[in-house]
């Protein structure tokens, strides 16, 4: 039986505990507020609008995932919030104040590895602290604490090229968090990792998030990842671009991989699938116009 055949609950029906949790989240102050954001490319005449009138509010310590098909502008949204790209209209408010340009109050973890190769792991984590003018000894102590938290104390004197992909991203998370940002923007941070490491990293991230007062905006194209990590999921679309739906994740916390087959998880996943890969009428699966290139007698399916 495939998930579509199982009778699933409504993805919008929240268990009392989950509903109460969202109630508490809503009571918290708004950290990030995106108002009427517009992004378009190209000049006069041939402009391509990625999204328009995009509004969003993220509460303190909320974990928001943004999903969407490629080209929906989810990475662009992250980069505009981080101040790396300029919006064509609208504004970003952080703690109620308008922000423009990159700053240490919005930490970022990129998909590619962006650790500074010429600095040791510890000095990478110290970088932001030193930029904000902390004394070297203070920065040193704090960097060690952060590395301790991501479980990489043993590698503080290693250079980034000596680490695996997953470890690099953990250092990148520590480096971003060391600055004590109000929001941590993660643009497909685990996209380049293999499936096993990715699952491990998702676990690490949840553990870190529990211990730190930080709000997370997490961009991903992996629906399982979004369902596993998030409080709310922003589903974005293309043509027209923008937010299609904001879903409150019905899967209760604490999360564990065992929940991947829970009814709430499957219901949520089905809804996400519906948005990202809408079923096309009359065409179950595209057949390739392939002639058979092998002899009979060794059927593979």
């Amino acid at each position: 039986m495939s998930p579509s055949e199982i009778k699933l609950p409504d993805y919008r029906s929240l268990a009392p505990a989950v509903a109460a949790r969202f109630e508490r989240i809503r009571e918290r102050p708004v950290i990030l507020s995106v108002r009427d954001l517009k992004k378009s490319f190209g000049a006069n005449g041939s402009t391509h609008v990625v999204f328009d009138h995009l509004s969003l509010e993220i509460h303190r310590r909320e974990f928001i995932c943004a999903v969407g098909p490629s080209g929906c502008g989810k990475s662009t949204l992250a980069r505009i919030v981080a101040g790396l790209d300029e919006a064509s209209g609208g504004e970003i408010l952080l703690n109620g104040e308008s922000v423009a340009g990159p700053g240490p109050d919005r930490g970022m973890v990129f998909q590619g590895y962006t650790l500074f190769p010429w600095l040791t792991v510890k000095r990478n984590v110290m970088f932001g602290l030193q930029m904000s003018g902390k004394a070297p000894s203070t920065a040193d102590t704090e960097a060690r604490q952060w590395l301790d938290m991501v479980g990489l104390s043993k590698f503080e004197e290693s250079y980034p090229h000596e680490l695996s992909g997953g470890m690099k991203q953990r250092v990148a998370i520590a480096r971003a968090l060391a600055n004590n940002p109000r929001i941590l923007i993660m643009d497909e941070p685990f996209g380049a990792l293999d499936a096993q490491t990715r699952a491990q990293m998702q676990n690490y991230l949840l553990q870190i998030w529990k211990k730190v007062d930080v709000t997370i905006l997490f961009i991903t194209h992996d629906l399982d990842e979004a369902a596993f990590l998030s409080d709310r999921i922003i589903v974005m679309g293309v043509n027209p671009g923008g937010i299609r739906e904001v879903i409150e994740n019905p899967v209760p916390r604490p999360r564990s991989p065992a929940q991947f087959i829970s009814p709430e998880f499957l219901a949520l996943k089905k809804r996400l699938e519906h948005h990202i890969h809408p079923p096309v009428e009359g065409e179950p699966a595209e057949k390739l116009p392939m002639i058979k290139l092998t002899d009979a007698g060794d059927e593979v399916e």
């Binding site: 990159p102 919005r106 500074f116 997953g166």
Partner: protein
């Protein structure tokens, strides 16, 4: 096994083979030279006369073309006169390897013929000083300009079009001008090296700086770095290894301008030595002096490459402990070091 393939595409050769091939790259041309010098029936276009016989214009010690020699031999035999004797030899401008090797030693020991002529070591010292000063002055301005140009579009557009034009002007063309302005001593020679190096330097360094991964700059920006700190703490360290390599290549470039530069004004340094020795027909010394330039250049480069691994430890390959970093040229660092076993490290952390 793939390892047994000598011609594997993009495949790292085992260390022993690398050393073997390095040795072969020097030995092959040496072998050609030895064959030309020591195998009497290969080339040897002249006859060195040991006994003039009946030929009146031959004399002992004279080198004559082989064809002429055998004509005379035939004539003498036909006339029943004394036949001249001789050995096949190479022309004086191709001394044998052992003669050049000996010259390496003797060139330093031989006092100059004239009082005011420099010894070989003085000539070399003079040349090295000219190179060093030329390269220093060029870098003094070229390095900052290159970094500025590579970092900011503003400076790139402001200076690069002119530099692109100027670098096509051959440095020796400025020889007469340099002499007119700077006199005939060392100043115009240094100026030629600066002119030959500087313009390439700015462009090459700007290019290396421009290649810095923009993601690193963005990451630094989200960590609170801005303006000058972005340059000093990110752009420069991110490009420093490439710039260092550029500088090594440019230093080699400066050496090629040396000979031209030393002809400007009063001839000096190693060029003067080479010219004098050629005039005295001490071709073994000439070859030794030319080889000396190569040896000095190569030694400097090997030293600088080794210094690079000390200065930039993050570029060091981590597979082996450093046992032979002294000769990075002979054991070059692979451009794409093979990925470490990630599993092991992860397991290490999990404990």
């Amino acid at each position: 096994m793939a390892n047994h393939d000598w011609l594997g595409l993009k495949q790292e050769l085992p260390r022993r083979r690398r050393l073997l091939l390095t040795a072969a790259s020097f030995l092959a041309p040496l072998l050609v030279w030895c064959v030309l010098s020591y195998v009497p029936w290969v080339w040897h276009p002249l006859m060195h006369i040991t006994d003039a016989g009946s030929v009146d214009y031959f004399s002992t010690g004279l080198d004559v073309p082989r064809a002429t020699f055998f004509q005379e031999v035939a004539k003498a035999q036909a006339a029943g006169l004394d036949v001249p004797q001789g050995d096949r030899v190479n022309p004086p401008y191709l001394p044998a390897p052992h003669e050049v090797v000996r010259a390496f030693y003797t060139a330093f020991k031989t006092p100059p013929r004239l009082q005011d002529e420099p010894w070989l070591h003085q000539s070399l010292g003079h040349s090295i000083r000219t190179i060093f000063l030329g390269f220093f002055f060029s870098s003094l301005i070229g390095l900052p300009l290159g970094i500025l140009s590579g970092t900011y579009r503003f400076f790139a557009k402001l200076q690069e079009p002119f530099i692109e034009f100027f670098r096509y002007l051959p440095a020796p063309a400025f020889g007469a001008l340099c002499v007119a302005i700077l006199g005939i001593e060392d100043a115009p020679k240094i100026a030629i090296i600066v002119i030959g190096t500087f313009f390439q330097q700015v462009l090459v360094i700007a290019n290396s700086v421009r290649k810095v991964d923009p993601a690193l700059i963005e990451a630094a920006q989200t960590l609170g770095a801005s303006k000058w700190k972005l340059v000093s703490r990110v752009v420069i360290p991110a490009s420093i290894t490439d710039v260092y390599t550029d500088m090594r290549i440019l230093l080699g470039w400066a050496w090629t301008y040396l000979i031209v530069a030393e002809v400007v004004g009063t001839m000096s340094g190693i060029t003067l030595f080479i010219n004098q020795q050629a005039r005295y027909r001490n071709f073994d010394n000439v070859y030794a002096a030319i080889a000396m330039i190569g040896i000095i250049g190569l030694t400097t480069d090997i030293f600088l490459a080794w210094l690079g691994t000390v200065l930039f430890p993050w570029k060091k390959k981590n597979r082996k402990p450093r046992t032979h970093t002294l000769f990075p040229l002979f054991d070059p660092i692979p451009l794409n070091p093979p990925k470490r076993k990630e599993v092991q490290l992860e397991a290490h952390v999990a404990q």
